[in-house]
């Protein structure tokens, strides 16, 4: 098998000139302003199951999105057809649609003086993600699964081990003269083993390592062994009675709570009154130990750009660091240009941009600042409680703050982890939960764009047997 090759021949420079050309065409066709995003990507993935290759996928694609303005009206169009015909249809389509929309006084590109991009190398792109020859990529997936399968005799089956690599380019250009472009890369290795207990009850879990550069991936063996450990510890899971006890969230689930705080602080939800945080700027909304930061310009301790790092946001504003919560006080609503104008504020440079539609609001690298206690110390302080390692479902209502989700984990008895727990829910209200954070771990690690250390929350309700 040959190494992955791009099925397209375009260089980033070609994509830039394509983007600026489409902006020009849109303006010539009558747009008062225009903004174009072009994306190109290649992906490779292999999954090995029970030692045999199960799926092998390799491809590349590109697409373009255009947003046009006719004064205070706007519309958008996108296409995967980058031929002259395809481009013409996108320009005509967007302008035709803009004519049926109505004037919205807050719509428009950001102010010209606000555009910009971080000039320093953010270390987002590493060619080495494709450096492994094809057969060795398969070997990485196989090794990862094999490590999981041999780690414990109760591991009897598997959803496989996998190796993935991807690279992508993104260009943003607009009629105010902004042109930005960056490339990024990704590599990942993972395993998803199954274990079975004496009663025939099966459990599945998994683990992964991902990085922007291949050299920073953990070894397939380390990932496979961790996947096995996580799977086996779920065996023998049982329900616990309905009760109120302290709940300790492991980092891999705690991060979803931090994501919910960001979503609730997101300007779109604020101006719509669709968030329980609306009107609470500069109020104490959480424990004094909580400081939450969003930083879309961040380098990881390894010197590599984080998974939420980029030189500019989805509207062409330079990336930066914004404090969401400072010692429990809500310091900023998270804003793109539109939400900022609706609220009479300035953008926090958190615009996210897909191919179609107006920009949304998204986080960069979002994290809860670590505390001083080790996770073991936090668990050790709990007389009876639940250590949550898995959450299920979508039971977070940002309007009311009501929180109710399926959970799985381990029971804590006298400061020790005991048996596995499943088929229960944990419930509370985000407003109260944030105030009831009673411990924060020192174990912050960026495994993705959103990260949290271990946290303990008191006063939540477990519903179970």
């Amino acid at each position: 098998m040959p190494d992955a090759v791009s099925v397209h021949d375009a260089t980033p420079l070609d994509l830039e000139s394509l983007a600026t050309d489409v902006v020009k065409r849109a303006v010539e066709a009558g747009a008062s302003d225009a903004e174009v995003v072009v994306r190109e990507g290649d992906e490779f993935s292999v999954n090995v199951r029970m030692g045999q290759v199960e799926t092998l996928k390799e491809s590349g694609s590109r697409a373009l999105g255009l947003r046009v303005f006719l004064g205070k009206r706007s519309a958008s169009a996108s296409t995967s057809d980058l031929t002259a015909d395809g481009i013409r249809q996108v320009v005509d389509g967007a302008l035709a649609l803009a004519k049926v929309t109505e004037e919205d006084p807050y719509v428009g590109l950001p102010e010209t003086e606000d555009f910009g991009a971080i000039k320093d190398d953010l270390h987002l792109y590493y060619e080495d993600v494709y450096s492994l020859p094809g057969p060795e990529r398969i070997e990485w997936a196989r090794r990862c699964e094999a490590a999981a399968l041999t780690a414990d005799k109760r591991i009897t089956n598997s959803d496989g081990g996998s190796f993935d690599a991807a690279t992508g380019s993104k260009v943003l250009a607009n009629s105010r003269g902004f042109v930005g472009c960056y490339r990024s890369s990704y590599a990942g290795v993972s395993a998803a083993p199954l274990a079975v207990d004496a009663n025939g009850q099966m459990q599945r879990d998994g683990w992964w390592s991902s990085a922007r550069c291949f050299a920073h991936l953990e070894s397939p063996e380390a990932v496979g062994i961790e996947a096995a450990r996580r799977t086996v510890r779920r065996l023998g899971a049982r329900r616990v009675p309905t009760q109120r006890v302290p709940i300790v969230f492991a980092p891999e689930v705690a991060r979803s709570l931090i994501g919910s705080v960001f979503d609730a602080a997101s300007g779109d939800a604020i101006w719509r009154h669709a968030s329980y945080l609306a009107g609470k700027l500069d109020e104490q909304i959480g424990a004094a130990s909580l400081t939450i930061v969003d930083d879309n310009a961040m380098l990881l301790p390894t010197g590599v750009g984080g998974f939420g790092t980029s030189p500019f946001d989805g509207e062409g504003l330079p990336s930066r660091r914004t404090i969401v919560l400072e010692k429990g006080v809500l310091r900023n609503y998270m804003l793109n240009t539109y939400a900022a104008r609706k609220l009479g504020m300035k953008s926090t440079h958190n615009a996210s941009r897909g191919l179609a539609g107006a920009p949304g609001i998204g986080c960069g690298n979002l994290y809860l600042e670590p505390g001083t206690q080790t996770p073991e110390e936090i668990i050790g302080d709990v007389k009876a409680g639940l250590y949550v390692t898995g959450l299920m479902g979508f039971g977070t209502n940002l309007v009311t703050g009501d929180y109710s989700r399926g959970a799985a984990g381990l029971w804590i008895e006298n400061g020790q982890l005991t048996h596995a727990v499943e088929e229960i829910t944990i419930a509370g209200n985000l407003g109260e939960m944030l105030k009831n954070v009673t411990a924060i771990g020192n174990d912050l690690e960026f495994r993705g764009a959103v990260a949290s250390p271990t946290i303990r929350i008191d006063g939540m309700t477990i519903a179970g047997a």
């Binding site: 694609s61 649609l97 109505e102 009311t400």
Partner: protein
């Protein structure tokens, strides 16, 4: 989008042949290239999608967007292996390159695909006019503007209204190395309303939506803009006075229609053949065994006219069908695609679906529902001393391997002494798939299908689905509230 002059199958094929210059000779060459290193089977999946969406927000038509995408996914099956590559450029060179990449999964002497294609006649569940739908934007805008007006008029505590309309037309052409040749044109549209209600310090939300594979004339009655808007507004106003949901195990009555998401999560996913072929599902090996109360019969049916989950052919070109999953409580069968049917030695249920040409097909659900029973909904409610009556839900999720599933109630009430009393706040319900339906003690005579809003995710791929159910009573289910 009125639907008089219906299309004939060859028109779908003609679209790809004329627009992209595809020829039978090119298809044969690509299949030949795909099997150049051996393999059991290869197929080409051409897809062209155009979509349009419109949105009104704060009484202003703020958003309008359109999109087109086209491409081809090429797959080679060799034993249990799948090789896959796709391209968004339909030039012969790119197609042959993708075929060559997918071929790398096999390693053996070249195989020759069957020469000549046979296109089997298919159903016509969602007639599409020749040349596609019109794009009468004014008629579509009128739908969302009517919804906006109706929601705001419902109650002066409704402070924010958003209404959106979206539609897509998806054309597919599938050819297999076994000579299979299928094509289809699949319309799909949807109308949504979201509202925020505010009363003093209390703020709540409500939403409603409906749609399907049919024209604008489907938006009447409960699916009319007014019907959906009032439903969304009613839900939000109701929540203003909601009390905390109870916590713990209790009797639960589920209303008809969308609460059928219970079936999708509790049993549907667990019966998809890929999980069972690999022995990773909690339902593995349970065919012929009781997995529900004898009152329970569940089917998956892709052949219902105009419904969101329906398909004339699946994304492997196989005709869809009605598949009995559970009959009188006994597990009858799995949902299969070409690969799992061949490897398991069972019939193909026409359940191979994919999100787009970027994706490898897998067994998926279409419209999944429970057949009606004999109890009246009133009798069911009267039989409950203390419990929860849940009539609307947000999303759900399942762990296939241990069978645990959740689904989140967005409109529910306490039942006290057989009577519906206070509305409760959002709560997640949790259960164990192979056990939960054994506690179904009453099944209503009021089978209803949802309004056409479901999207199912699996392995990162989203596909439209439907669900349905009559009113049912579960003697035991865990309700995840905070109250007593």
């Amino acid at each position: 989008m009125n639907l008089p002059a219906t299309s004939s199958p060859p028109s779908h094929r003609r679209y790809f042949f004329e627009k992209f210059g595809i020829t039978e000779r090119l298809l044969e060459r690509c299949l030949g290239e795909a099997l150049s290193a051996g393999g059991d089977y290869a197929d080409l999946y051409f897809e062209s999608v155009t979509s349009t969406s419109l949105g009104v927000d704060e009484q202003i038509v703020k958003s309008a967007s359109t999109g087109t995408s086209a491409g081809c996914g090429i797959r080679v099956l060799s034993g249990e292996r799948t090789g896959y590559a796709y391209t968004d450029n339909l030039n012969p060179d790119r197609l042959l390159h993708a075929a060559k990449t997918a071929a790398l999964i096999a390693s053996g002497p070249a195989k020759r695909p069957v020469q000549g294609f046979i296109e089997a006649p298919t159903a016509d569940l969602y007639p599409v006019p020749l040349g596609g739908f019109d794009l009468d934007l004014a008629a579509r805008l009128e739908l969302i503007l009517r919804a906006d007006r109706a929601a705001r008029a419902f109650d002066n505590r409704i402070v924010q209204v958003r209404a959106g309309y979206s539609e897509e037309l998806r054309r597919i052409l599938i050819v297999g190395s076994d000579g299979a040749f299928a094509s289809d044109t699949q319309p799909l549209c949807r109308l949504n309303v979201f509202v925020i209600a505010k009363d003093g310090q209390t703020t709540t939300k409500g939403s409603a939506g409906g749609g399907g594979r049919a024209g604008l004339d489907q938006f009447v009655g409960s699916k009319s803009p007014e019907g959906l808007a009032q439903e969304a507004a009613r839900g939000a106003i109701l929540q203003l006075s909601a009390v905390p949901a109870p916590a713990g195990e209790m009797q639960v009555v589920l209303g008809p229609g969308w609460p059928g998401i219970l079936l999708h999560e509790a049993v549907g996913h667990g019966l998809e053949a890929d999980f069972n072929r690999k022995g990773t599902s909690a339902f593995t090996g349970l065919i012929g065994r009781p997995v529900a109360s004898p009152k329970v019969t569940v089917v998956d049916n892709g052949t219902m006219e105009g419904r969101r989950g329906s398909l004339n052919v699946d994304d492997e070109g196989s005709a869809t069908q009605e598949t009995v999953l559970i009959e009188n409580g006994i597990l009858k069968g799995y949902l299969t695609d070409k690969l799992s049917a061949r490897l398991m030695g069972t019939a193909n249920t026409g359940s191979g679906r994919r999100e787009s040409y970027h994706c490898i097909p897998m067994p998926r659900m279409t419209n999944t529902y429970m057949l009606a029973g004999e109890d009246s909904p009133e009798d069911i409610l009267h039989s409950v001393k203390r419990g929860l009556y849940a009539v609307n839900f947000g999303g759900g999720q399942v762990d296939i391997t241990n069978g645990k599933f959740v689904f989140s109630a967005s409109e529910a009430y306490l039942i006290e002494d057989g009577k519906i009393t206070a509305p409760v706040r959002d709560a997640t319900l949790i259960g164990n798939g192979p056990e939960a339906l054994k506690y179904v003690s009453m099944v209503g005579n009021d089978l209803k299908l949802d309004e056409g809003i479901g999207t199912c995710g699996k392995d990162g791929q989203s596909v439209p689905v439907g669900v349905g159910m009559p009113t049912i009573k579960l003697d035991r289910m865990t309700v995840g509230g905070t109250g007593r």
